[in-house]
């Protein structure tokens, strides 16, 4: 099992690049269609490229269910109960998402014929949505812990007092507590870029299933843009392992 997981981990880098390309295509198609309806051949080429990337990625993801199950097994052994719960449920939902995705792939190549594509697609989006919600809960928990830790530190209080007493006449400082909270939040995020990047990535990713499930309908442009941003963040965390949130 361990060998299989190591094996399938090896193509994560490429998958992120293809995802970025796929969402860049989606965004470009939306912008081109908005601007003018003339460049039809370019739009057709971009659509074809997006479809190729999407189909290719579904094939690459065929082994990822095992990956997620192994990750769930690992996160079950975490000591912190909140982290354990959030990450394990997130990983289980990801495993379910990959199963739905594999079934959709089998349908698209004709291996399985009589299944309800729309039903399975909605299920996949639902599982993906739940895993993102769990990941965001974990991010919020980590941020709260960081803020609490930081607030307790002596030299941070000095910094805070200095910041609050800096510009008392500025119009923005209407509610000093809000200002203090935001300052604490920003300082915590600045000192832990991994948490900040992960929160941003999950927030951007959230728009994709929200749109698909009809909970918060945006448009193809927003979905493409958010997908592109989250893919770029994913590439950065892969290239710079320091920026990857742990566990």
């Amino acid at each position: 099992m361990d060998a299989v997981v190591k094996f399938t981990n090896q193509s994560q880098g490429r998958d992120r690049v293809f995802r970025a390309t796929q969402y860049a295509c989606a965004l470009s198609i939306y912008l081109l269609q908005k601007k003018s309806s003339e460049r039809k051949d370019l739009v057709a080429k971009l659509k074809s490229l997006e479809a190729t990337m999407s189909a290719g990625r579904k094939l690459f993801r065929l082994g990822n269910t095992l990956n997620s199950i192994e990750a769930a097994k690992r996160t079950m052994q975490l000591s912190d109960p909140v982290l354990c719960l959030c990450l394990t449920v997130a990983n289980i939902n990801r495993a379910l998402y990959f199963i739905c995705d594999n079934v959709l792939w089998a349908r698209s190549v004709g291996l399985i014929r009589d299944i309800d594509k729309e039903h399975w697609s909605l299920n996949a989006s639902r599982c993906y949505f739940f895993s993102l919600v769990m990941n965001l809960s974990r991010d919020v928990y980590e941020i709260i812990q960081l803020m609490v830790q930081k607030a307790r530190k002596g030299h941070f209080r000095q910094k805070m007092d200095q910041h609050l007493s800096e510009n008392p006449e500025v119009a923005e400082v209407v509610i000093p507590q809000l200002d203090a909270f935001l300052f604490l939040l920003l300082e915590s995020l600045k000192s832990h870029p991994a948490v900040a990047l992960d929160t941003l990535k999950n927030t951007c990713d959230l728009f994709i299933p929200l749109d698909r499930l009809g909970i918060y309908k945006s448009n193809a442009g927003v979905v493409g843009f958010c997908g592109l941003i989250s893919s770029l963040i994913g590439i950065v965390t892969l290239a710079q392992p320091k920026l990857k949130i742990k566990p």
Binding site: A3, F7, T8, Q10, S11, Q12, G13, R14, F18, D41, A44, K45, S48, L49, T52, M53, A55, G56, L59, F60, G63, V109, G110, L111, A239
Partner: protein, 262 residues
């Protein structure tokens, strides 16, 4: 550039699994066709094969750079034959991947009006040259190892009392007895041949990386030979060879000590 190569090599494993699956589909399609099953099942298998082929082309998009980097590294090898074979082989591979990328762009519609047959033939020609050079390298390595083994065997066993029994020059020396040369030459030839085959088998058995690489390249060479029409063997044989070579290369990825170096 270095970080790109590291990045690139991470998806080699999945690409090999897809290759194995693609050639398994080819073999399966041929078997189904021969067995005369429903056209729909055969169509599904053919479509799956085409889908895997296109996806593999997508996965190979950055491999030209990796092949060029490998060629750059191969230029610094000390052995001149290895240097020549490997550098030119990697350059041919880089050209093969470049043609393959163009084919991918044509198949996905990015480049319209592409002569797919012409570019396909081009890519297979480069692939064939690369494989021939790899096989040359394998044969060269095998020869070096055989010479080593012969010298080792000669130093281990002292020279025999009968001068006629010393080494492969046997059949050239005239027999001491007045019996007819043809009657003596044949058993001498077969003994020499047997010894030779035993020597090659020993060398290959004690060098699994070389054996694996030789088998892999020998299986692979039938693919471009068939596609270019030089030695057409048929879909079934090509599928079986492709599957065998993919399985062997998956073995070298899972057990890195089995990979032939450099």
């Amino acid at each position: 550039m270095d970080s790109w190569v590291r990045f690139n090599s991470q998806s080699q494993a999945k690409e090999r699994v897809l290759r194995a699956a693609q050639y398994a589909c080819t073999l399966l399609g041929y078997t189904l066709q021969k067995g005369g099953v429903a056209a729909e099942l055969h169509k599904t298998v053919t479509q799956l094969e085409a889908h895997m082929s296109l996806t593999r082309k997508l996965l190979r998009l950055g491999n030209s750079v990796e092949a060029l980097e490998a060629a750059k590294r191969a230029i610094h090898l000390s052995d001149s034959v290895l240097r020549l074979c490997l550098t030119i082989s990697h350059l041919n591979r880089a050209m093969y991947f470049a043609c393959d990328n163009v084919l991918w762009a044509g198949k996905t519609g990015l480049i319209s009006k592409l002569d797919q047959d012409k570019w396909s033939q081009r890519s297979f020609r480069y692939y064939l040259f690369a494989l021939i050079l790899n096989l040359t390298r394998d044969v060269y390595e095998l020869r070096l190892l055989i010479e080593c083994e012969e010298r080792y065997r000669a130093s281990k066993s002292p020279p025999s009392a009968y001068p006629g029994n010393n080494g492969p020059a046997d059949h050239l020396s005239s027999p001491s007895s007045p019996a007819s040369p043809a009657a003596v030459a044949l058993p001498v030839m077969s003994a020499w041949l047997r010894r030779r085959v035993h020597l090659v088998a020993t060398v290959l058995y004690s060098n699994p990386p070389l054996l694996l690489d030789l088998l892999k390249n020998s299986c692979d060479i039938f693919i471009p030979l068939d596609r270019l029409g030089i030695y057409p063997t048929g879909k079934g044989f090509v599928g079986a060879c492709g599957l065998a070579s993919s399985v062997l290369s998956i073995l070298t990825i899972v057990h890195p000590w089995l990979k032939l170096k450099p």
